[in-house]
Symmetry: C2
Subunit: 363 residues, 2 copies
């Protein structure tokens, strides 16, 4: 057998993977960013058992358990690994704390070249072995028809936390680095690219069937800076992923740069299979700009889950009708679930997506 | 004399007013959002004298003094009234506090129709008489060649503070109102439109020569919601302004919706003379989309003021070269000055704008 020949795998069956690859589906698949989280009482219970957020991330059994919770409760079309983007900087040697009610905190943020030299390139099987164990456990207990999505933060987004020391409103420190000391910033991004390639490839080896790159803070950059400091490192990551599996299947890559509706063409040039959209860019407009060969994910304003069931349904319909019968759409929110959402809103949302998308597809 | 005939005023001489109207200029005019503010030691001194921020806003002599400070120090091409957008809700009857280091706070935010019925329509000459007195004092002491810009918050942006009770990250309350109780929200916006029309017309009567509407939070809305809840009220305000003065001069209106690069065509349909841009939409792209009959203001990332003089100049050049020799551009930041900017950066910026724009315009 010619070793260059990739065995031709049968088309995937799951709605989610089919939509990622632009294949036809009878109804639109749906999952929700931060679908495993504080809005679920059963999550808060497991979190109490674990002690704190980081301990939960590092406990493979409990991480697997909370990953499954929204699948069991709601029957979503994909599961997403329960973890946090900041486990990568921690594995590179940075002290990480999650302060209750205040978010993540790096008490020793990066300020100079010497700080970079102290960062290590983590072996995902060692320093991030707990993530790999969680992935194996999730795949063991997850119904086989439900794909598992792995993820990482983008290098730019990770760098904002590593340089600012935590969440930021003004990004003074990283922007000062960007404009005054781009070599320092690029040195950090380069290390992060390598770490994330290893990390995501290990996730793929252990069983994730798609990966999403979360670029939460790309939108604070102007177009040239976005291209250089956010998109370019992500494109290098995508080029380094082992997306074609030995069985011939393909691992789709979803890229979500929040607040970057103006940069969609740049995003699509990254090599990703799916572009994630927030609610400020209509799906139909994105499709018109990017063409049919790249799938779209999104884009309901999560605040619509504060509304009544009729309004949720009409907003879901509006999102779906923006694309009509076209393939290549995964329904999602335009940002993560909020902790104060009533869990009863989720089945209303899911039913609306399934029923309305079937209706739209019925000739 | 036919009373319908508007006397034909001579063209304005100031670079700023000429650029607002698309007239030719020898160099690009420049002013900076929040140019009178905490980054200036002489401002901090006056603020100490006044006691607190709101007392400073309400003291016409001191408000005039800080309005002039950046003009005297830097020779900017326009002055902007020192005040705060939230004086309008306060004048409508809401208690307003500025908590040191925490920003504005309405201890009794609006939650229901009955709250709206308690709001009053302020007489700008009475409840906001201190603003009018400040405008008169500023015009008295401001060099006659420097135009004075008045301003207001947009109804949508004011409503976010009035409903959330202060600054917000997630805008849960106003979005819940938007999706579940749009009648309540529209009732509030309607009252704000009327109040702002009266307020800005009074500012014009007392001597401002241009007005800017600050729509800081339009960018959290999807396109349909932006049009209905942010743009539409602003368009009604613009239609209600007395822009043609008895002497034949025209009061230009600048509309700045931050984070709304995707909605520029909608913004331009408001009737404004100038569209303010943040740094995510290149000026050349905005001009290509909107045509030459509407002026543009912006759009340097304020974080560039953390950089060294060479970098500031090269970034200024990049902004200017995006439009080349085209008219109708007022140089500004894409957002307000930060309190920790070194004041010495401002003359570097201004010199760069003037020298580089003259160079670009030289055949």
């Amino acid at each position: 057998m010619n070793t260059n020949t990739v065995p031709s795998a049968p088309e995937p069956q799951s709605l989610f993977l089919r939509a990622c690859l632009g294949l036809d589906v009878a109804q639109t698949p749906v999952w929700l960013m931060r679908q495993a989280g504080r809005y679920l009482p059963e999550y808060r219970e497991v979190r109490r058992q674990a002690g704190d957020f980081l301990s939960l991330c590092k406990n493979p059994e409990l991480a697997a358990k909370v990953t499954l919770q929204p699948i069991e409760r709601f029957g979503l079309d994909a599961a997403i690994l329960f973890s946090d983007i900041l486990v990568v900087p921690e594995a590179m040697g940075m002290k990480l704390q999650f302060l209750e009610g205040e978010g993540p905190h790096f008490p020793e943020p990066l300020t100079r070249q010497a700080d970079l030299d102290r960062l290590t390139l983590p072996d995902p099987e060692v320093q991030l072995g707990y993530v790999m164990a969680a992935i194996r456990e999730i795949r063991r207990i997850l119904p086989s028809g439900v794909p598992l999505i792995g993820f990482s933060g983008s290098p730019w987004t990770l760098a904002t936390y590593m340089i600012e020391g935590g969440s930021s409103k003004k990004f003074t420190l990283i922007k000062t680095a960007l404009y005054n000391d781009p070599g320092f910033l690029e040195g950090l991004l380069e290390r992060l690219v390598t770490a994330v390639v290893h990390y995501l490839n290990a996730q793929i080896d252990h069983g994730v069937q798609a990966v999403q790159i979360f670029d939460t803070w790309g939108g604070i950059l102007g177009p040239d800076e976005y291209r250089r400091f956010s998109l370019e490192p992500m494109a290098r990551i995508i080029a380094g992923l082992n997306r074609n599996r030995p069985d011939g299947s393909r691992i789709p890559v979803i890229l979500f740069s929040k607040g970057c509706g103006g940069y969609l063409e740049t995003i699509a040039s990254s090599g990703c299979d799916v572009v994630g959209l927030d609610w400020t860019t209509p799906l139909g407009q994105a499709r018109a700009r990017l063409g049919p060969n790249i799938a779209l994910q999104g884009n309901l304003d999560p605040a619509i889950l504060y509304a009544n069931p009729q309004r949720i349904r009409s907003e879901v319909r509006r999102v779906l009708e923006s694309l009509g019968r076209q393939n290549g759409h995964i329904f999602n929110l335009g940002h993560g679930m909020e902790p104060n959402i009533d869990p009863l809103k989720v089945p209303q949302l899911i039913s609306a997506v399934r029923e309305e998308s079937r209706r739209i597809r019925t000739p």
